[in-house]
Symmetry: C2
Subunit: 470 residues, 2 copies
């Protein structure tokens, strides 16, 4: 998977420094080696040419041995987005949910579609479209749910590898007869584990060190899993040292159902805890209705949360409290949660995270907590990148432009409005109109609120160019 040449990226780089702060590196140069690793970052030279020369010298690289990519004025490099919760198999249903809420939505829209992907030709069409579309939106890493079908799940892993998206591939486990429909259910806990092993082994064959694609243990969520299955999946996780993904407390009806199905357990989180599924490498999607005690437990186990605002609003699930989770010590990232969420875009998820935080604020008791609930532009872009990297356990590998990390990045381009009110350059530069007087902070805010895949001109994963827009 090595690239033919070392690479040099020149221009403006924007990244999350902390939750509160974006860092703007202007007139900078970043060197990426053939393994896609950031070999050097040069920022203090005052102009791009000087930065380039200095960086090449320091690495002992000669200019004719590197591929150079320089930003045009107004463009900038940004870390690739990380989608911490997405059902690739539900992609064809984006936007189609009627007035449903979680449990009827599963039955009416979701299980039938997922089940149909045992048709491998259909699975190829759907998964290819999903991976290409999310890459085009700058998603360089995705934590995917596939379906219960092993062949189709393995195909998703193959496609991520060939199309170049960093991915966690979850073969979905669900064996509880009274919840899962007969036509879409693992026959037993043992069959579910065996099928999961087949996907693990497949991925070991195609990407032995999980450099790009990794299996992830995926008990769908407590209502769809027997205690036996959860116990066995936990053992499998331990044995193979793998991450886990599941759902928690998305919807009030679901929370009640879990209390009925698991009467001995004190809470939804305790169900997972009792099976050893709350690990530092566990991604819990939604976490809308966590109690204080559950949040403390999740924080103590260092499990992570995937916040899915598009989905939570669409399915009337509720308003997840990101600030509250942060204050509890929980790391949070963003998920598109297609097709509970309608959009393939993590930029849209970030935008909706900002808006949903304002709906949380509307319900706050006093002005101070109202203000505190609101997430800033900087904070939602942190969720989309470095927060996401922590959630999927790759914070030492991706999420920002530190030396030693992999070059998982996107080149963003905005439109300049000319004096006559029309726009510079290409015919279709999207909806972010710059008038020339904007600060960099304002440009980023404009990108957050009106940007789309048209603004993402190039996308790299592991240093490989995996998407470019003509």
């Amino acid at each position: 998977m090595a690239q033919a040449k070392n690479q040099l990226l020149l221009g403006t780089f924007v990244q999350s420094k902390t939750r509160r702060e974006l860092e703007y590196l202007h007139d900078a140069a970043i060197a990426v080696d053939k393994q896609g690793r950031i070999a050097g970052v040069e920022t203090g030279s005052g102009n791009v040419d000087a930065a380039k020369t200095k960086l090449l010298e320091s690495l002992g690289w000669s200019e004719d041995e590197v591929d150079v990519h320089a930003c045009m004025p107004g463009q900038f490099f940004f870390p690739g987005f990380i989608d911490t919760h997405v059902h690739a198999s539900q992609y064809p249903n984006v936007g189609v949910f009627g007035k449903s809420t979680l449990l009827d939505w599963l039955e009416q829209y979701t299980f039938p579609l997922e089940s149909s992907l045992k048709d491998l030709a259909k699975a190829r069409t759907v998964y290819t479209a999903c991976v290409q579309k999310t890459l085009a939106h700058g998603t360089t890493t995705a934590a995917y749910y596939a379906t219960i079908d092993v062949s189709a799940t393995n195909l998703l892993a193959d496609l991520c590898l060939s199309l170049g998206q960093r991915a966690f591939i979850g073969r979905v486990c669900m064996d509880r007869p009274n919840f899962c429909p007969d036509y879409y259910r693992d026959e037993s806990a043992d069959e579910s584990v065996k099928a999961t092993m087949e996907t693990i082994e497949h991925i070991q064959k195609i990407d032995a060190n999980y450099d790009l694609v990794s299996p992830i243990i995926t008990p769908r969520f407590a209502p769809s899993c027997t205690d036996e299955l959860m116990g066995k999946l936990s053992a499998l996780r331990h044995e193979h040292n793998l991450p886990v993904q599941t759902h928690i407390s998305e919807n009030e009806g679901e929370v009640k159902l879990v209390a009925e199905l698991f009467p001995g357990k004190g809470s939804y989180a305790e169900v997972y805890e009792s099976h050893g599924l709350l690990t530092p490498r566990t991604i819990l999607a939604h976490a809308v209705h966590l109690t204080e005690a559950e949040a403390s437990l999740v924080a103590a186990r260092q499990s992570k949360v995937s916040h899915c605002p598009c989905s939570n609003s669409s399915l009337t699930s509720g308003q997840s409290r990101v600030r509250w989770m942060w204050e509890k010590g929980i790391e949070v990232g963003l998920g598109t949660d297609m097709s509970g969420g309608y959009s393939p875009s993590i930029l849209e998820a970030a935008r909706q995270a900002a808006l949903v935080s304002r709906h949380v604020a509307m319900g706050a008791e006093d002005d101070e907590s109202r203000e505190r609930c609101k997430l800033t532009v900087e904070e939602v872009l942190y969720l989309a990148t470095r927060g996401g990297a922590k959630v999927v356990g790759l914070e030492n590998k991706v999420g920002d432009f530190e030396v030693g990390k992999q070059w998982d990045a996107q080149l963003v381009s905005l439109a300049n409005v000319r004096d006559d009110g029309t726009r510079d350059g290409e015919a279709d530069a999207g909806n972010v109109d710059l008038f020339g007087w904007e600060t960099w902070e304002e440009r980023i805010a404009k990108w957050l609120f009106n940007g789309d895949d048209r603004n993402t001109k190039m996308v790299w994963v592991n240093g490989r160019l995996v998407h470019s827009r003509p």
Copy 2:
């Protein structure tokens, strides 16, 4: 403004029949005469060719005398969108609002920008970009606020006329010294009225019958207007038989301020009522925090409401209750409310109206009212078209495809995913991926949730093609 030829549109037409129902006319033909009026609609012929022949015959038009435009498979015609509340002057600030709420947002972001548009070159750049951008998003009618500057406001009217967008042009009136800043305020009520008259007279000169562009009386909102000004504007409205637009109950701080500034009045709505500004041709933007009594008053006066969900979420203003207003008997349309709202798109406003209605539902007391709060795909698209037409008082002229109405329409095109997961046709067909099995209802839902200006291929106003996408 007549077109050179009669026109014939062929294919699928989708429109709101009622609030609850979209009507799908397949294999249909619509004839548009040189004045842009729908001269005939033929739907029952079974195929497009038969419909075309029958319609031409019934009108006595010969085929070589008409321009024909036929949908490609999967495309459809939809009524143009109506933006019932938009500040053209704030367009450059879309997405830029930080953590502000209404009153500090006005001071920090809005008044400085609006004031700067007295520079006519800047105004031309900004207004051209705004009109072109909203046209590209399918907005065929807009109720605009400009600024207090007469020349710039008149320029906006000129631009709408030349670019072909149906528009209401509001010269902004604001004379209250203790609220409006010194640098951006009418000198007196009389000066404000005089300036408004200059815009009325200008528009009478350029579009004598207000066929495309009409003045609209625009007291900014109660806190920025003296009683004297509101009284005089009401007289002006009456004298010239003009519509009115203003804001009401957007934000709790604003509601409190109005109570302080107008201690004699029982409510915010009563302030306008007392000056005769609540008319059947009055557009009230926001109406988030109306009391029961105010809603009854607004309904009794047949005044209309512009719902601006993007804005209300962004500025943490609150959650407007569309179903509740409907049940009170108030007509509602959608507004982008740029730049309180971040998006130039009424499709985005419709999407956010659906989402915000679910946030309203989350706060409902029981399951039944929860269900009732939610707006369907059909309902938000009604708000975007026929609802909007009623709000701006043009329901006899635009909003659907009835014989006698003007051809204000858009041609919508969605992407077909091929078997290999890539997409048919053009390079950039946007984010609405069809897999071939979707019902028409599902296609429309997908368009609502992932559509953007890329899907709006052509836009007509009064039969004139005012936007097309290569």
